[in-house]
Symmetry: C2
Subunit: 390 residues, 2 copies
Amino acid sequence: MAVTDVAADSLAALDTPCLLLDEARLTANVARMRARLAGLGVAFRPHLKTAKSLDVARRAMTGPRGPAMVSTLREAAYFAEGGVTDLTYGVGIAPQKLDRVGGIRRQYGADLAIVLDSVAQAEAVAAWVAANRDPVCAPLPVLIEVDADGHRSGVAPDDAGTLTAIGRVLVAGGAVLRGVLLHAGDSYGLSEPERIAAAAEVERAAGVAAAGHLRAAGLPCPVVSIGSTPTARFAEALDGVTEVRAGVFMFGDLFQAGIGTCATGDIVLSVLATVIGHQRAKGWIIVDAGWMALSRDRGTARQAVDQGYGIVCDPAGTPYPDLIVRDANQEHGIVALRPGSAAALPDLALGARLRILPNHACATAAQHGSYHVLDAAGRVSATWPRIAGW
Amino acid sequence: MAVTDVAADSLAALDTPCLLLDEARLTANVARMRARLAGLGVAFRPHLKTAKSLDVARRAMTGPRGPAMVSTLREAAYFAEGGVTDLTYGVGIAPQKLDRVGGIRRQYGADLAIVLDSVAQAEAVAAWVAANRDPVCAPLPVLIEVDADGHRSGVAPDDAGTLTAIGRVLVAGGAVLRGVLLHAGDSYGLSEPERIAAAAEVERAAGVAAAGHLRAAGLPCPVVSIGSTPTARFAEALDGVTEVRAGVFMFGDLFQAGIGTCATGDIVLSVLATVIGHQRAKGWIIVDAGWMALSRDRGTARQAVDQGYGIVCDPAGTPYPDLIVRDANQEHGIVALRPGSAAALPDLALGARLRILPNHACATAAQHGSYHVLDAAGRVSATWPRIAGW
């Protein structure tokens, strides 16, 4: 049998819709990012919020214990239980969550650090440390979030008063001031490498400036952590930065391809679907992957090329010319040519299988409970579970 | 303690983000729809794709065994295992799924019907029936999907040739031709009751016409099944229709409020979130519910009032004036006033709780593994699990 037939045969055993993971592409994406960051002289802390899978994490991390970044305490507990103990929880801490943080630190001996950006949070941490004088969980490590670009949370990098006030409350309260953390969220709206590189420089300079304010006040700041997939991909120099975080780069997606951080051929995930009908007069092929399987993410709608709910490929993963998921209901996808395309609609019979590349890997993966892993021959070689929830 | 304090106290014990369900509103929404359809003289087959929960299903169905509608075979198996045996699987059948359909029918003694809209599918069903001459699962009931409004799948209601060809293949092949099924998908794009009532009449007339073609050819057609939440809400007469399906009406959401099928005060679900930060100069309140908790659904973006990622309420469920989730990252929500609002930003301190009404109940609920149920006093009285996957 030809390679494509072997692959089709292996996929035929799967119920659809389901999520496929191309392991060779994952390995290549990780190797490329590691080489890049090693060349820039910084540590790599992969963000596990996209994958939410120990199997993926073990391939992405530089060691079995991490470092790694998480977006929920559910992820922190899951990865810590799996032996990943060098963890940073990247969403600003709510006081109510400190007991869970302490519990994960204690139960797994995890070095789980938290993030905050206000004196009020620092005071809550100090009060919690005072009430929890346990030698394992009490010396709680904290990073101060700094706002690189006005995107979301964080102290302004030139707001030395707030930075040092937070730092002093933490140190006086017995927490460990580990450093500063930034996320260049606005880089996702750029698409030229030069502009993303400029955003990376803004992120770097903001981190170094904020660290400088802390150090000038006699406060410790060993870590300067930056990161986003676009800036990690295009940063030219990272002097003063100690670690870089990135997550979606592992998988890539159509949004990332639209801003140039990966090629379509680097995209690791696809949703396997089955043809369930046709509306031939309209040029529609109906498949059993709707937005529940693809997610509601329409991130490419704001890009130069709108990919609908995803690019449609054959079972071997080769895109059909101009074929996308034009619209989606909960469990129905409407596959059709791009508006204005002169390509021929492929003749996909009832029951035919196809693969859909996602707009946004984080959102699409979250709709599924596991990854069906494809080896280099396109065979399903494993099933990797993934977690959900908080 | 005042009622709102009792409620706030009960909510304080929950980890955020999480999904809340107001049981009194659910009961009222179900009672209203049942009374409406009883008055129109039709049976009610609630669609369980929104809730995916036996606890909700038992409150929505007219009997413990159904009737009910499902959107995945995973739902079919889950509900059948819970005693719901009168089921229709509403997504056009793929030949590969017939063994699973047969397995569910056999294992649970379920009357699980399927839907199709082509001669190719009917031939696949006939071949399957011929190969599975089991007295329980073999007399497979089938509904022919009819296209009410060009929205998605289905045979045109005036295409007597295709309708009767499908019917003949099914009957000759030993399947049970149960009737026709329609879904007025375009009704979700309307917002005046008169226009939705007109869409309901189009849906009704198409169903009756298609059934007439089958009956004129000597084929059975006992069931004429129509349904969508908008048409179920505003249909004025349903002569010739035997059953109505609807799902999202149980919960309501901001999209449905935008088209007038419910009021904001009828919305059953909300996402409980915690304030984790502020960007005071921008008027932003940062919360720990991002698109992972709210879903990526932005259905109200195309409506007269764009609700962002949802309307923000206090812990008792009362909306703050003009306060919405303006933007969302994976685990961060940016709460702010609507553009142009003259309202005052409420003073929500670090750690404060708030509730977010969803754009689309089906999509938001799918991001969560359970419902935290609030009783009439606003206390958390139960946790109801829900399922996911296919």
